[in-house]
Amino acid sequence: MKPSSGSLRKFALPAILFIASIAILAQNAVSYLLDSSRPRLLNYLNSAFGYTFNAEKISFDFLHGIGIKNASLYTSGIGNPDIAIEDIFISARILPILIRQTLVIKADISGAKLSVTKEKEGLSLQIIFSDVCKKISEKGPLKLPLLKRGLDIYIKQAELTYLDEPSRKNNMRLILKDSVLRQEEENFVFYSTVGFNYSLPQDSPDAPVLFKNKFIQQEAKYYAQGTIKGEDLVFTMISLNVGASQILGTGVTKSFTKKNPYLEIKFMPSSIFLGDILALQENFNAQGDAFVSVGLRGLMDSPKFTVNAKLNNCNFTYALTPPDVYNIKNISGDFSYADNQIRFKNCTLMLNNNQFLNVGADIRLAAECGIALNVSVPQGYLAQQGLPLKKIEAVLLGKITDTLKGSLEVNAVYMRRDLNIDMKAILKNIDFDYRNSGKKYFFAESLQLIKDNSTKVQRLTFHDLKAALYANKKKIELPGLEAKGYTGNITGQIRIDTADKPALRFTLSAAGLDVTPLMQDLNLSDKLLSGEMKIDIAFDNQKSKFLTGDCQIKNGTVDLDILAQIIKLPSFKNTSFETIDMSFSITKSSIGVEQIRLRSKEVMLDGSWNTDGKIEGALAIDIASETLNQSTSFHKLLTLTGIKKPYINFSFLLGGIPKNTRIMWLKGEFKDRIKEELPASIKISIENKLDELVDELENQ
C-alpha cells in the first residue's frame, strides 16, 4: 500500500525541520568548536611560523565554509599588523573534485590591508611568504592521493601600503579590486583591477613643483597567466590595460619562494595614448601617442625600471606661473628612463607657437635633481620671425633643488651684411629662484659675451650679475639688473617679448669702467689707451637703429699715431685728454658716430661719420701752435705762412669705404696760405710722401 501524498507532506515538513535543526546544530557546534579551538590554533601557528597570528572569531556555515573575522599577522608583535583581513571565508569546491579530480580550496577575502616595508633581507611580505613556504616544505606538502591541488582566491578589495624608509610614512599604495587568483597544480591565472597611488613628498624643500595634484594615481586592469617551473614563477603572458591602451609582456620571478627573488619582466613595444595616463592627463593635459617599451629587472626589493618611448606629436599644457599656461605642442622624439635618469633626445616641439628643434634633456632624479638641457631653434623659424639669426641654441647644465643652479651657454650665429658672426653668452654659477610665481631672483657669478667674425674676436666679461626676474607666457623682464666689470658698476633692464614677433629690448648704464682692459677685450681700437668710461646704451631689435649709445671717457690717453706720423711728432702717440664724448648708433647696414669730441690741451677734435657701406663724415682738428712748433717741418711751415694763432685748424672730409678711407683736407686759412707760398714741386713732393705714408699705414 502506497503512502498517500497527504501523509508524505505530513512527514516531509518535520523531516526537513529535523534535518535543518540537525544542520543548524551541527553548524553551531562546529562554529563553537572552531572558535573555542582558536587560541590553540593561533598558538600553533605562532610557534610553527614564528609570527604573531590573531583572529577575533572563527566560525562555520555551510554556505561560506570556515569564516575568520579580523585576522591579522604581526611580524614584530607590536604596532600595526603586517597583514590584516576583515573577513576571510575558506571552503572546498565540490564540483572540481567530481569533474577534474582536483581539490580546490576557495578563499573569499574582503577588507584586506597589507603593509610592506623594506627590510635587510628584502620586502617584508615576501619574507613572510618565503618563511611560510619554507615551513610548509619542511613539514611536507599536503599529499592528496588521486586528487590534484588547486586554489581559488577571490579578493574583493585589498590595500597594499609601501612604507618608505627611513621615515616610514605612507607614500605609495596599491589597491586591488575584484582580484582573482586561480591555481591548479603548476598553472596559475591572476587578474585584478589595480589602482596605484603615490603621494609626492610635500614637506621636503626638494618637493618638485611640476605636479599640481601632489600625487600620482593610475588605474589599470591587470592580467597574468603562467606556470610554476621548479623554483621559478614564469609569466607566459602579462597584460596591462590602461584606459584604451594595452601593453603585453612576459616575465619570470626566479626563486620566487626566496626572501628576495629576482624579477625580470619585459613589456613589448606598444602604442599608448598619453591621455590614458592619469598623472599626465591631470597635471599636464597630455595628448598624443607614444610607442613605449617597459622593462623591470632586478631583485624584488630594488628592481630597476626602464622605459623607452618614441613620442609622436604629443601635447602638454602646464601652468608654471599661473594663470599663464604654457602650451608645448607637437613633441616628437625619444624619451627614456633608467637608473633615476630621464632623457629626452632628438626632440622637436613648439612652445607657445615658437618652434624648437634638437631639444635634448638629461634629468637626474635625486634629492638634488641634476639636469642637462639643450635646445635649438630652427633657422627657418628664425627667418620667419624676421630675425637676422642663422641659429640659436642654449645649453643648461645644473641641478634643481629649491633653486636652479648651474651654467647656461647660449650660442647664436648673427648674419650681418653677408657675414656670419658667432655670438656666445656664457653664464656661470647661476642661482635662479624659479619657484616664486611672481618675482624671481637671478644671480650669476660671471657673464661672458663673445663675438667672433672669424677675423676678430671681441669679448666682454662681467661678474656678480643679479636681477629680479618676472616671467609669463608673453614676456620675460629683468628690471633692476646689476653687475660689475672692468672696475665699474653696471645697471640696466632687459625685456624679451615672445607674444607675437620676438623682441629684445635692453638699456644699460655703466660708470667707472677702466678703458685699458675694456679695449683689450673689446678689440675695437688700440688707439684708446687709458681713461675712465661712462656709457649708456639702448638696444631694441625692432628698430632700424637697433643700438644707440652715449659714451664719455675722462682723464685718459689716446694714440693719435696718424697725426704723429704726418706731423712727425712722436708725442702724439701718447696724447693725454680731459674728455672724449661720443654718440653712436648701429643699424643693419651701418655704424654711425653721430658726434665725437676730444678735448685736450694739445688737440681738440670734433667729428662725425657714417659707414653705411661707404664712409661719409667730417673731422675738425685744432692743434696747439705751441705743439706744432715742436715739429721742425711744421715750425718752418708756420713761419712761412706767418700764422700766429694759439690753435691751428685742420678740417677734413671723409670718404671711401670702411676698409680704405679717403681723406680730403678742406680749405682753411693754413691750407690756403700753404698753397700760395709753397712751390709746385714741393707740393708734389709732399703729396707723394703723404701717399707713401698712407700706403705704409694701410700695410700696417
Binding site: E616, L653, G655, K659, N660, W665, E687, L690
Partner: protein
C-alpha cells in the same frame, strides 16, 4: 780712294738697311695708323691679326686691352666683359689694370646692372686709401692703342672717368 770710300759707305748703308728689320711685324704700325685716322674697325682687324701671329709680342698686353676696348666701344658686351676680366687676371700689375677694371665696371653697368661682380669691383676700385692734401682730387691719364685718351679722377667721395674729355662713368662707394 774717295770712290772706294764712297762705294764702301754706300755698301755699308745698304747692308745696314737690309739688316734693319722692324721690331714689330707687318700689321702693328698699320693698326696704329688706322687708329690715328679714326678707322677703328680696320685698326681692330689689324691688331687681332697681329696678335694671332705674334702672341708673345712685347705689345701683347696693350693689344689685348685695345681689342677689349674695341668690343666695348661697339657694345659687344659679352666679349668685352670676357676679355677685360681675363686681362685683369693676366696682367694685374700692368699700367692699364686700373683702367681695365673701370671699363669692366662700365660694361657690367650697361649690360647687367644686377651683376654681383659690380660690388666686388667697386671694392677693388676703392681699395686704396687716399689723402688729398692740397688738391681736391688725384688724376691718372691713359692713352690706348685705339687712340682714346682716358682721365681717371679720384675724389674723396667718388671716381669720375672721362674718355676723350667726355664723362663716361661716375662711381661712388
Amino acid at each position: 780712294m774717295n770712290a772706294i770710300g764712297f762705294i764702301t759707305v754706300l755698301f755699308l748703308a745698304f747692308m745696314n738697311l737690309s739688316c734693319v728689320t722692324p721690331k714689330e711685324g707687318p700689321g702693328y704700325y698699320e693698326a696704329l695708323q688706322e687708329a690715328a685716322s679714326g678707322n677703328l674697325d680696320f685698326a681692330f682687324l689689324e691688331l687681332n691679326s697681329y696678335l694671332r701671329e705674334n702672341p708673345d709680342s712685347y705689345h701683347a698686353p696693350d693689344i689685348k686691352f685695345a681689342v677689349a676696348e674695341y668690343h666695348l666701344g661697339v657694345k659687344n658686351y659679352r666679349e668685352a666683359i670676357d676679355r677685360l676680366s681675363k686681362y685683369i687676371i693676366d696682367y694685374p700689375e700692368e699700367q692699364n689694370a686700373l683702367l681695365a677694371q673701370i671699363l669692366l665696371y662700365k660694361a657690367l653697368i650697361d649690360f647687367n646692372p644686377q651683376s654681383p661682380l659690380l660690388e666686388k669691383l667697386k671694392e677693388r676700385l676703392f681699395s686704396k686709401s687716399i689723402f688729398l692734401f692740397l688738391s681736391d682730387s688725384k688724376t691718372k691719364l691713359y692713352k690706348s692703342l685705339l687712340n682714346n685718351k682716358y682721365k681717371i679722377i679720384e675724389y674723396v667721395d667718388r671716381i669720375e672717368v672721362l674718355k676723350n674729355d667726355e664723362a663716361i662713368l661716375r662711381i661712388a662707394p
